[in-house]
Amino acid sequence: MTIAAMKPLERLAAYGRGESIDRLPCVPIIGNTAVRVIGVKVSEFRGNGRLIAAAQIASYRKFGYDVIRVFTDLFTLAEAMGARVHYPTDETAYLAAPAITGVDDISRLQPADPRRDGNLPHHLEAMNLTVESVGKEVAVTGALTCPFTTASFLIGTENLVRLTLKNPQAVHLLCRVALESAKNYAAAIIAADCTPSLTDPMSSTSVISPKQFREFSLPYLKELISFIHGHGKSVTLHICGKTNRIWDDMIAAGADCLSIDNDASLAEARTTVGDRVRIMGNIKPSEIMLQGTPEDVRHAVYDCVALAGDSPRGYIVASGCSLPTETPFANIQAMIDATAEIGWPITLEKLARRNP
């Protein structure tokens, strides 16, 4: 096989088996930037699985990255359970109002039915169409918001974090019903021949303590991941912000790959957990990818590969978090190009060649 012809699925599989590849896998975490590729507005994704698929496929074909992720915002699961989401015309949606205002209403919450509720059916349609079109060559994933984060959207973030101290039982009830929704959606994503891609920003130690994470987030993550493993899929878990104090717990939850943000240290991840899980990250989404030049991106890729390219369980070049909608195409391209420029095998000579 000519090495340049490797498709993302072949590349990931070969890398997983420890065989020779053409370059490291590379994942600029594309969200609503996909609308810019086909020239539509962000809000047009709402209720339109066909358009999401068209944009995701076009974006993949344009850049040739290694994982497609169907994602518009973090609220899809909470919305399907009654939270109100506001959709600005051409910006990412935001939470307008939580599903409930007080603990007395928790019993009214029902797990989401992905075939019926909110935008979930449209996201599933997008996954189906994307798999149909390019699923033979590239991994297609569906973003799945984890229980603690969804719980925060169900009752409001400030409410939820207060409840962790005031009324732990209420938090558990919220996480439990959010977990049931997440499992339903995970099953539907897997039935669409996709892999759930787990995201859990509120579980960050930028928000809650490691102790609170262990009490309120970990048990539900564990159950969710074990459910997904039961369906034969491996799990990438992304938690934003600071996470180094909970990496061991994220691994204990069963994650096969940790996606880390730029508030965490890639070097530290490589040293402390690289022998147990695959690592992906952590080019700065805002400072480098949005505001930097292609040359800044190139340097960031070289830095990351130098720090973690030899991580024992593998490393994926990636942005630290979802890319801002207006991330320049040239910067996304520069990320892939720099990864290809380093190529394979990764050698010190190549890494030293960064200055043209």
Binding site: E158, V207, S209, P285, S286, P324
Partner: protein, 216 residues
């Protein structure tokens, strides 16, 4: 009295740090009954407690839940003491604060407001999703020392630069200091848009605000 006074101030601060709303309120009443000056009780008790809570947050001993609960206790104590204020003490400055238009994440902004209020600033909170023009108008109206801008989203960062540009257009840039903060904001970005200050978190924001207020 002075030993007793010190005890009460310490008890107030400890109650805030311990997130004990009931004890904070009871101690505030006790302080008044003992003839303690309300301003002193706020400044040397509640504020000191909040400052320590902020420090614990920086040291990653406390997290957002603890900080919120401390501020709940602090505000409960403040409700008791405020009506008894003879003077407002020496005000450090006036701040207009808000989350820039297009963003509704306001936990960070609320933290900064709390820390500024306890740090002796008069704070006008414009809430979230605030257009740049509203910041400028409010700053003029209350003669603000500082305009504080927050965002968690990269999509709304440009609105921060817009506030600075509006101040320049109206030739009042030197009247109000501009400080910025929030997830995607960096010192480099603050410099790029011509802001006067950047703070990485709520505790730091008070220090920066004090520096800026001193420089006006």
């Amino acid at each position: 009295m002075s030993g007793k006074k010190e005890d009460l101030l310490k008890k107030l601060a400890d109650a805030v740090v311990d997130m004990d709303e009931k004890l904070t309120v009871a101690t505030a009443h006790e302080s008044l009954a003992e003839g303690l000056d309300a301003y002193e009780a706020i400044d040397g008790g509640l504020s000191r407690g909040m400052e320590r809570a902020g420090q614990l947050f920086e040291e990653e001993e406390y997290f957002i839940p603890e900080l919120l609960m401390c501020s709940d206790a602090m505000y409960a104590g403040l409700d008791v003491l405020k009506p008894h204020l003879k003077t407002t003490g020496e005000k450090k400055g006036t701040v207009v604060i808000g989350v820039i238009e297009g963003d509704t994440h306001d936990i960070g902004k609320n933290m900064v407001r709390i820390m500024l209020e306890t740090g002796g600033f008069e704070v006008h909170d414009l809430g979230r999703d605030v257009p740049p023009r509203v910041f400028v108008d409010k700053a003029k109206e209350v003669n603000a020392t500082i305009i504080g801008l927050s965002t968690l989203m990269t999509t709304t960062m440009d609105g921060m630069g817009q506030v600075v540009r509006l101040l320049q257009e109206e030739n009042i840039r030197d009247r109000h200091k501009v400080m910025v903060g929030g997830g995607p904001i960096s010192p480099g970005f603050a410099k790029k848009i011509g802001a006067d200050g950047y703070a990485i978190n709520a505790a730091e924001a008070v220090k920066v605000a004090r520096e800026l207020a001193g420089a006006v």
